[in-house]
């Protein structure tokens, strides 16, 4: 590890991308991610990469498609309305199996919404967003340190699986300053041989390579889909990342990702101070989702509280995983509002009271 630096989340992410061997960045200004664009405009050309300010997010994602098709490390970053514009291109990228890193520093919506933090794009990131059956690998950082760490992880996973990887951050993570250390990372140790498929010219008279997502024969198109689904299954088995806090003896647990997990952690401390045995599970990958870990937790606790900065999106996946094993309650704020620890504590207390009453009735 290097020395500790004080940086904004957006800048830490940008710096990590350069250190991870970024060769092409294509983006369009939008708050609250513009520092990322500005940092790379300053630094990337000096350090061996190409920076292009595109005319739109639509153009940016298609530039990523082109660059990724050469096997070079490519990325874009945007915020929610811009990410909506990119969905068509992401669908093409997923089908053509092009490795790339896509960053969404989420702001409150729908519509033009607000520039304040939100997690309202969970469904869009995790369930597909664009047309067709495809998945991005979705990483959810909760600190400036993870804004950097997940770039290395994301680029490696993108190369390994030939799949788009999305870092789903939010406006607060992008803007806030914390200390960050950049790990030692030698790109040579992480290189994946893409020479069997990349389009770089027919070197030494080799056979043609072409990149496409068009298969007019439905049987062929189904085989392509089956191949993608097989890959997603392997990702589900091998790439789940999550973190637990004080779940060992927990009677109840909170599930939260990203910035919300920071409020949840504070609520956990407040609850523990009152003698309430509360735990926290934080998915770091939203796809693949930590289904097994949540199932195990559900068998242990008397109830779960899911906290999000949206109207209740991840909670649907939690309920699918829990499958009725234990009550799952939801608390969310929307439109750029952040759940406060005291409010989360209150929701936990409600959950405990309801489930205690229920147990009283049952017995």
């Amino acid at each position: 590890m290097g020395k500790k630096l004080l940086m904004k989340g957006n800048e830490a992410l940008a710096e990590a991308a350069i250190r991870a061997g970024l060769k092409g960045y294509f983006g369009y200004p939008i708050t609250p991610q513009s520092e990322l664009l500005e940092y790379l405009a300053n630094e990337l050309p000096k350090r061996g990469g190409a920076f292009v300010q595109a005319e739109s997010e639509v153009a940016a994602i298609n530039m990523v498609y082109g660059a990724a098709g050469t096997g070079e490390r490519a990325m874009t970053s945007t915020s929610s309305p811009g990410f909506s514009l990119m969905q068509e291109g992401i669908s093409y990228i997923a089908c053509a199996e092009l490795p790339c890193l896509l960053v969404n520093v989420v702001r409150g919506g729908p519509g033009l919404g607000t520039i304040q933090p939100s997690q309202g794009d969970y469904f869009q990131a995790v369930k597909g967003g664009g047309h067709g059956d495809y998945k991005m690998i979705v990483l959810a950082p909760n600190s400036v340190q993870e804004m950097a760490d997940f770039v290395y992880l994301g680029m490696d996973l993108a190369d390994l699986y030939r799949n788009p990887v999305c870092i789903l951050a939010d406006g607060a993570l992008g803007q806030m300053m914390e200390s960050v250390e950049f790990p030692e990372y030698n790109i040579e140790d992480h290189k994946v041989d893409h020479s069997s498929w990349t389009t770089r010219g027919r070197l030494n008279g080799r056979d043609q390579h072409y990149i496409t997502s068009l298969y007019l024969d439905p049987e062929k198109m189904e085989r392509i889909n089956q191949g993608l689904q097989k890959k997603y299954q392997i990702i589900k088995e091998k790439e789940v990342h999550f973190e637990t806090t004080e779940t060992e003896d927990a009677d109840y647990a909170i599930i939260a990702f990203g910035l919300t997990s920071r409020s949840a952690l504070k609520a956990l401390e407040l609850a523990r101070a009152q003698g309430l045995k509360i735990g926290l599970l934080r998915p770091q990958t939203l796809f693949p989702f930590p289904v097994t870990a949540i199932q195990e937790l559900a068998r242990q606790v008397k109830g779960l509280l899911v906290v999000e900065m949206n109207a209740g999106q991840m909670v649907e996946d939690v309920r699918l995983a829990v499958n009725g094993e234990t009550p799952v309650e939801f608390y969310g704020r929307m439109g750029g509002m952040i759940p406060q620890p005291e409010d989360i504590l209150e929701e936990i207390t409600k959950l405990i009271n309801v489930s205690t009453d229920q147990m009283g009735k049952d017995s």
Binding site: F26, V58, A59, N62, M63, A67, G201, R202, G205, Q208
Partner: protein, 264 residues
């Protein structure tokens, strides 16, 4: 051995001299283009040029959405298939990370001049060092003959059944004239492939554009090619080629719109 001219000897193969060969980079398969369509001609010209300039090992083409969406099945070079209208953005991505490669797009009028107009203008305005081949046949061929941004006034298509009405359906767009005004364009020309003479001139123009890129000369080369669509225009191939001479070039005059030395 036969002596054709004094001092020059050549071998006679079978009964006939070979005066023309399919370029090795043009796949020897049946294509899906309609009989008489100009796409096949431009495909051949492109592959002849790639061979003549000896750039097969570093050329990357970008195919559009439209009739030439499957161009990579006919052109035996590395290619990427772009989303509708985004070919020049894809080409930008390739060229920026691999500046030594030769990159071109191949796009129709719906792709380049309707859904992709923003990418077209901004790619050229940035002066990306790529070649854009723009096939203008004034119709959406692949989807069955709908009105295109370049459809002539009064022309009957499936979405302008009474003929294109300029008041309600807008004017045909002249892309070469438009992009020649952009500072990033380097070489802009409008050619045609409706006769042996125009085909020869079109080849010369395309080759010039590729040579500029090989030499690393700055800016975007934009080669518009007036082509035919016998099926979409509901004409025989001959009638469609005559229609180009009679009507199309009146509105879309052939010629150079920007030359590197002379400007506009």
């Amino acid at each position: 051995m036969a002596v054709i001219q004094e001092g020059i000897q050549c071998e006679i193969l079978d009964q006939l001299d070979i005066v023309w060969e399919r370029p090795g980079t043009l796949y020897d398969i049946e294509n899906h283009y309609c009989p008489g369509c100009g796409h096949s001609v431009v495909h051949r010209l492109l592959m002849e040029i790639v061979e003549e300039l000896d750039i097969i090992d570093r050329t990357i083409g970008v195919a559009p959405v439209g009739c030439s969406v499957l161009a990579y099945h006919y052109l035996n070079i590395d290619m990427q298939e772009a989303a509708h209208g985004r070919a020049t953005a894809v080409a930008t991505g390739i060229k920026r990370v691999l500046p030594d490669k030769i990159v071109f797009t191949y796009q129709g009028d719906g792709d380049l001049a309707a859904i992709g107009t923003s990418e077209t203008i901004h790619t050229i305005n940035r002066g990306e060092n790529i070649v854009i081949i723009f096939i203008n046949n004034g119709i959406y061929g692949m989807t069955g003959g709908q009105m295109a941004p370049t459809t002539l006034a009064g022309a009957v298509t499936s979405t302008s059944p009474e003929g294109r009405d300029l008041v309600t359906q807008g004017n045909p767009i002249r892309m070469s004239e438009l992009v020649a005004l952009l500072d990033g364009s380097y070489y802009v020309t409008r050619q045609a492939v409706n006769s042996a003479k125009t085909v020869r001139k079109a080849k010369k123009a395309i080759k010039t554009a590729f040579q500029y890129q090989v030499e690393g000369k700055g800016g975007t080369s934009f080669i518009e090619i007036i082509s035919n669509c016998p099926a979409g225009w509901k004409m025989t191939p001959l009638e469609s080629n005559q229609y180009i001479n009679r009507d199309v070039v009146d509105f879309f005059p052939l010629g150079d719109y920007k030359l590197p030395e002379k400007g506009i």
